[in-house]
Symmetry: D2
Subunit: 288 residues, 4 copies
Amino acid sequence: MNREELLTKYKDPIKVLDYGHVILVDVMGDDFAIEDAARISYQRGTRKTSDTRGLLRYLLRHRHTTPFECCSLKVGVKLPIFVERQWARHRTAKWNELSGRYSELPEEVYLPDRDQVCFQDKKNKQGRAEAFNEADADRCRMEMREETKGAFALYRSFIAQGMAKETARIHLPFGTYTEKIWTQDLHNLLHFSKLRLDAHAQYEIRVYAEAIASILKAWVPLTWEAFEDFQLYAHTFSRQEMISLRSALQDIVGSAGKATVCARFNTEGLSAREIDAFFEALGLAEDP
Amino acid sequence: MNREELLTKYKDPIKVLDYGHVILVDVMGDDFAIEDAARISYQRGTRKTSDTRGLLRYLLRHRHTTPFECCSLKVGVKLPIFVERQWARHRTAKWNELSGRYSELPEEVYLPDRDQVCFQDKKNKQGRAEAFNEADADRCRMEMREETKGAFALYRSFIAQGMAKETARIHLPFGTYTEKIWTQDLHNLLHFSKLRLDAHAQYEIRVYAEAIASILKAWVPLTWEAFEDFQLYAHTFSRQEMISLRSALQDIVGSAGKATVCARFNTEGLSAREIDAFFEALGLAEDP
Amino acid sequence: MNREELLTKYKDPIKVLDYGHVILVDVMGDDFAIEDAARISYQRGTRKTSDTRGLLRYLLRHRHTTPFECCSLKVGVKLPIFVERQWARHRTAKWNELSGRYSELPEEVYLPDRDQVCFQDKKNKQGRAEAFNEADADRCRMEMREETKGAFALYRSFIAQGMAKETARIHLPFGTYTEKIWTQDLHNLLHFSKLRLDAHAQYEIRVYAEAIASILKAWVPLTWEAFEDFQLYAHTFSRQEMISLRSALQDIVGSAGKATVCARFNTEGLSAREIDAFFEALGLAEDP
Amino acid sequence: MNREELLTKYKDPIKVLDYGHVILVDVMGDDFAIEDAARISYQRGTRKTSDTRGLLRYLLRHRHTTPFECCSLKVGVKLPIFVERQWARHRTAKWNELSGRYSELPEEVYLPDRDQVCFQDKKNKQGRAEAFNEADADRCRMEMREETKGAFALYRSFIAQGMAKETARIHLPFGTYTEKIWTQDLHNLLHFSKLRLDAHAQYEIRVYAEAIASILKAWVPLTWEAFEDFQLYAHTFSRQEMISLRSALQDIVGSAGKATVCARFNTEGLSAREIDAFFEALGLAEDP
């Protein structure tokens, strides 16, 4: 999908949470621009015939990440301030945000849906577990709403008395919405996606990451597919785990024979090179 | 002052605002380390006899900023969240911050002093003007305190009901204190100081910038002096302003004579090179 | 000029030096995109009626640089390796470069034009002074050419013997051309321009900076004009210089009267706000 | 090992290649400083009793990389320019390098050892294969040496004629040594180590990475151990590989029984949590 088609497809904001959204503003580059950037490095050393998909997969598999930096996405985002605080940790991005020193903030405060009022997870110290029962959830939501309504009433009273906006806002809630224009290169967008699509990311940022992922998928489908295969759904085993895995397989090979064991691996979807690398990693490479 | 002396001098936190502080944790490098970094570039091309102060002043005057990047400061900072949000725009720093997803937040909320409850500045849209009268200020402060007390009471009630901490905090106020460990190189510390010591910076971040400036002054006194002279208290005239200034001086020279005009300039504190550059910039250079 | 017009206008490479070029590949954003990014911050606090040019000038005058980061330029550059080494110091850019480990390097080596074979500047330790006489310049150029021809002959002989490309290139000259695709945001492009258009920048990088400046001028004309006025041709006076300047003017005012002195300043091209700020900086502000 | 002990241990340069070295200049922080930075985030949410080693391993296993950014290493490095060009791609570092515009460059040019004059690898397009025979290697080395001697003789002749140093150097070889002072934070040092210790990195940068790794191992031993276990010697399987691996194990479980299969895995060196995660990743988790 080229730039114009993409901008047309996403001309309407993607709604997120109760007042939030992600709006596509602009993009630079696409899957083929990444290939162009990579080819400048390998030019006379690579066959021109290898296809774009294969090259992009090769790049991501081997973590040659610089060519992905030559593409950029610009979005407008409206989001609760506590979500923005997590987002702002992605320091390689460029952004401008609404300033509460200049502008009076409208009364738009995030209120979790009923099924998002949950118990603290006991095991995952930063996570949430099962939802409250409906009655309790609704009571809590009403209390939250009352609390934030009161905070905004006081804010408006301060503004009406002529208080400086930068001071009048001090008691406003973390859940107040803000807006920003956010520009990020594709390499760092993938890193953002990996961290914020993760099950351990807070629900309220995950839904924004999903909105952005839907744009990425349409914009750079080959990159996204490679990202899912080699990063998002990939799994890293530690040195000790690899030793254990290889020795267990060696052991099984000892009793069942290497051919029998290898035959159990369905290698559909792997290229010939990938199969070689896979069996070598498992200690099942063919004898030379 | 070497590292040990500095760590001793600043072994106690510098108090800032009502609950905040800046604690010196560590430094790397000093004025002489900057000279060493600069000398690697110019080594065989510069006289070894030029002194450290002269070299540092030369570097800052000509914006050769990379040698200042080889020094680093690490501080612990406790600060209101709305201040942290301004601070986080300095994206070249490295930091870790207390997470409200993991930890229950203590009831520590910034309340402005009486003389900091001010009217909105009409001219400077992001600033504050004169203070409220005492009675109004105190009434507003009491209302703020009541509001934030209520918010924390509800927070604790949510926690007591077992609500996930990441959700229970949504209605807490921007003025709630957080903590972080923040590491920044000296070049970017000077940039931070330039922006956050400025009269237009919000009072509540300016007082932190002042605390950090006091450490910098003790740690790298020669750098700080040069920074004050060539950046903090320097003034930049635009192309048009320079044209206007030069033509006005030319005009005055026309009636009074160049010697008379030049004699009016007190050049104390400027090196011979700086005097030449100064008169040249003003269009008053000696005729060749 | 919008993106399509710009890409059409610069569809041919801009030739630089003997074998080099700058090719426009893509841009994201323009003058209006910067305004959009800035408006998100000031939205409800600024009059919508202020014009784009005025806003961009305000932003650059007050060093509000983040909105300029939301625009990006991507160029293909072919350049001598010693120029690339200076260019690579701009660490905020993203780029991919031809790799001499993968590809055999073509015999393209920079040879200075006759008028660029110059004497060492005695005062500016990193610069060049007047040109050699023609005969000497040509003799030196011939010796250089012979030297680099010999180096490439040996390189090809090594390659022919099957030597690894990464080793065979070790004795090749700094002047050998390389290629890269380079992406940079507009804020950092202005910083690059400021440093590399400077008279002290080496001639061979300055000509590339000029090629890029010509694209910037066509792409973001309002930004470029403001950049010239407030950065490129602006002048910064140190604290001591400002004290000296103000006291000299005060002195002249003492004998000639403030009105007479002020009248000598031609303030054409300055807005009312700028005139106020100018006279205030000079210590000539009107008495309240 | 604390800072003083480390500076004493590495007070002499580590020799690298023929004229190169790595000199330890300074460090900031250590394993315990990383723990301190991490604790600020998790403070009231984590048991204080978990030990430093366990925490650092947890952080690296889960890619919580920010606490590692609070430590910095500063080294002096003398290295061939073609190695510096690879090194300079690590853009998050801060450095100053000798300038050939200011200083006359000494005749120090890298000459590969006999066993490093190798054939081009046919499969790995950027690598080297087996060494030339001794006679061929020595002949090539002599030719290289003659070539670079001639280049330096011409350089000195240009300098003697008064040519600007920035021009006289254009034909000097890539293998000429340069020097820099280089500062990098620990997170990015681990990334540098991962890339430059890799078997695919060019030999001449790998030996520098090994020198730096030896310092890291002494400076932050717990971090280095965790880095080796979870990054350097870890292995990442793609989505397809994980599907294949899990289905093969499932298959084997089908014939041999889960208990038998699981018993083949030697889980020595894995914590209880790691064993759970390992079996879960393999699809061998205990039935609930």
